[in-house]
């Protein structure tokens, strides 16, 4: 009888330990929502997905988190808010992910974060710039990426430094486009109230923007600001150039959307891109932590492409989640959210912390580094484009080349 009891105990111990080891090997699932097919920006989605995969591999090579590998569960949103909402619902309820990362369009973030908020699951916004995302004040949403107010401040300062009197912006009809266009208006009012500024909202699905551009021919502004994303941005830029509006001797073209490091930029824009000023979240000449080189090299090895801002934003999104899981020693929502809020992590672009001030600053990494550079040659690589504004310093007009 005693032997039987010993056998039973041994069997129980073995089964528990086997179950325990199986549990320990269970992956930590992280949900990813990205655009993988039209009509959204597949270019962005691909860069983000590659960046997340590079970061996940690096983490897993280092032993994962809490002794468990990280598994990315990817859902294609097609850039459509309703699909983003459904994707987050599916990732949380069916795949049981511990956090959501990757979203790169503001409209989709605004849709997906509602679901994450309802289920109280951490949501890391990888590239949604709309201030409205922060202003919702959802405790689950964290923003280690750029935000519209930051670009608005940068654009307003640059426009002022350029000595502009009249500025026209072309903004796409999205939360991102309209939000940033309004943000620039507010910032210009604050730092340079004498500058006349207006913006036109353009449909990003349209293919002809000439009726909006033609009136500028007879009365050109000093600066045309691009607040559109590809492919619509390329069409707009080509038509603005075709009409002789910008870049031109009188008129600067200021790209607030960071188009120049898109892989298909020079395939679609030729002369229209020369002399353009670019708000950049990444430039090879920026100072960056060592981790940026590790991630950048792994990305180049994987894709053959040069690193981009989206690569680093995507990698940081996953890295802050992994860091929070380690510090919380848990994948449960409450401790994870608490750990994320206390983040002080040196990622690929600097030390990431999240503000707890309300409004557009809520759960935002405020000190996102940025630069301004000028494209001086057709086909020029970002690395070769001269910096006219170093991170943390004002734009230097003496470094500009007039078109």
């Amino acid at each position: 009888m005693r032997n039987v009891s010993h056998l039973a105990i041994a069997a129980l111990t073995l089964s528990v330990s086997l179950a325990g080891s199986a549990y320990a090997a269970d992956p930590v699932k992280v949900g990813v929502t990205v655009t993988q097919s039209p009509p959204g920006s597949v270019v962005q989605g691909t860069q983000v997905k590659d960046g997340l995969e590079v970061a996940a591999k690096m983490l897993n090579d280092q032993g994962g988190v809490l002794g468990r590998p990280i598994e990315l569960v990817v859902e294609d949103t097609q850039g459509l808010p309703e699909k983003a909402r459904a994707a987050v619902e599916k990732l949380i309820t069916r795949d049981k992910v511990v956090a959501i990362v990757g979203e790169h369009q503001s409209s989709n973030v605004l849709a997906g974060m509602e679901v994450a908020h309802r289920y109280h699951v951490p949501y890391i916004n990888t590239n949604g710039w709309a201030d409205a995302i922060r202003e919702k004040g959802y405790p689950e949403v964290f923003n280690p990426n750029n935000y519209n107010r930051r670009v608005a401040m940068a654009a307003a300062d640059s426009i002022k430094k350029l000595g502009a009197k009249k500025v026209v912006a072309f903004a796409e009809n999205t939360d991102y486009g309209i939000g940033l266009a309004k943000g620039i208006a507010e910032q210009l009012k604050a730092v340079a109230p004498d500058i006349s500024y207006r913006f036109d909202t353009l449909d990003r699905a349209a293919k002809d923007y000439l009726p909006a551009i033609l009136p500028l021919r007879s009365d050109p502004p000093d600066v045309v600001v691009d607040i559109m994303l590809p492919p619509a941005a390329y069409i707009m830029m080509n038509q603005v150039y075709e009409q002789g509006v910008a870049p031109a001797t009188k008129t600067w073209l200021y790209d607030a959307s960071g188009l120049a490091d898109y892989p298909d930029f020079w395939q679609n824009v030729k002369e229209a891109g020369k002399d353009m000023l670019v708000f950049g979240l990444y430039h090879p000449k920026m100072k960056a932590p060592e981790l940026a080189k590790t991630i950048g090299d792994a990305y180049t090895k994987k894709t053959g492409a040069q690193p981009s801002r989206l690569l680093y934003q995507a990698a940081d999104s996953l890295l802050v989640v992994a860091d929070a899981i380690k510090r919380a020693n848990s994948t449960e929502p409450d401790p994870l959210v608490k750990a994320l809020e206390a983040t002080k992590y040196t990622g690929t672009r600097g030390e990431i912390t999240f503000s707890t001030e309300s409004g557009y600053k809520y759960h935002q990494w405020l000190d996102i580094p940025y630069v301004t550079f000028q494209i001086t040659e057709i086909g020029q690589k970002v690395a070769d484009a001269p910096l006219v504004e170093q991170a943390g310093q004002p734009l230097d007009p003496s470094k500009l080349a007039r078109p």
Binding site: D203, A212, D264, Q267
Partner: protein, 300 residues
């Protein structure tokens, strides 16, 4: 403020845009005229033409003068194949087909549209490609307007093509056959016209014209998997405005829409530009449902 110079600029650009719309819409009107169906995959023929031209000219290095007709032939071949494989059931059993005919056409062409977009997305990739321009000049002065050389060249090719189509339909045997079948398919068959061959011809011609439009505009509107959606929507509006199945109506309505959009964008607001066509559409459906040159429905 609408100055004289701006008005002239808007007029020229509106007419040129209208010409491009016409190249798409004429094919759609032809298909409706002969088959009495709306081809929801028409925009994808445009997309196929844009890619065919871009790949043949930019990747294979074929001269542009050859690449352009190649794109037309590619679209025509695709149209012919689609008609042979997917459209034949529409009139194979015309006596028993009944009401299901319309549903079949909608589902098949809509499905074809999704298939082609996703095939190109996966096979070629999501990135937009800009094709080489027929004329390299970035800016050419056209009266009061400033245009890219490509736009001027594309407008010229479009005008010539539309003139050729008009002459073909008016004077050639097959053109008269197309008109006969569009008037009365059964009657034309009784008169000895091969209505099935006419259907193939019309689908090939419509596919070719849409592909040509895509090729001509690909140096301006970069080729991407969803590039055909926008011109297709315009074409549907135009075909109704012009009168379902009317070629002349489609041409006039195209120019009208181009002008209305061009002026409306400045006089009203650019943000409502794409709604002008829809407002016109609603007004026509309310007060002149047969369109500019269409006929009222007749049944006996």
């Amino acid at each position: 403020m609408l100055t004289g110079a701006l008005a002239a600029d808007l007029a020229v650009n509106g007419l040129v845009t209208g010409l491009f719309y016409a190249l798409m819409a004429v094919g759609l009107a032809l298909i409706f005229g002969v088959l009495r169906i709306v081809n929801f995959a028409h925009g994808e023929f445009y997309m196929v033409g844009a890619y065919a031209y871009t790949i043949v000219a930019a990747r294979l290095g074929v001269p542009l003068a050859v690449a352009l007709p190649t794109a037309f032939l590619f679209g025509a071949a695709l149209g012919w194949i689609v008609e042979r494989t997917l459209m034949r059931p529409l009139y194979a059993n015309i006596a028993t087909w009944g009401l299901m005919r319309d549903e079949y056409a909608v589902i098949v062409t809509f499905g074809l549209s999704l298939l082609l977009v996703n095939l190109v997305d996966k096979a070629i990739g999501p990135y937009a490609f800009r094709a080489p321009a027929l004329v390299s000049a970035s800016r050419i002065v056209v009266g009061p307007a400033l245009m890219s050389g490509q736009k001027v060249a594309a407008a010229g090719v479009t005008l010539v093509t539309l003139a050729f189509i008009a002459l073909f339909l008016r004077f050639s045997y097959w053109g008269r056959a197309v008109r006969a079948v569009s008037q009365n398919r059964l009657g034309a068959s009784l008169a000895g016209i091969d209505a099935t061959a006419v259907s193939s011809l019309v689908f090939a011609l419509a596919g070719g014209l849409a592909a040509l439009a895509g090729a001509l505009l690909s140096p301006i509107i970069n080729a991407s998997p969803d590039v055909g959606a926008f011109p297709a929507i315009k074409s549907y509006v135009i075909v109704v405005l012009g009168g379902m199945g009317s070629i002349l109506g489609a041409f006039i309505a195209s120019l009208l829409l181009g002008l209305v959009e061009s002026f409306g964008a400045v006089l009203v607001s650019y943000q409502y530009r794409d709604t002008f066509g829809l407002v016109l559409l609603i007004l026509f459906l309310l007060f002149r449902p047969q369109g500019l040159f269409g006929e009222r429905g007749r049944e006996v």
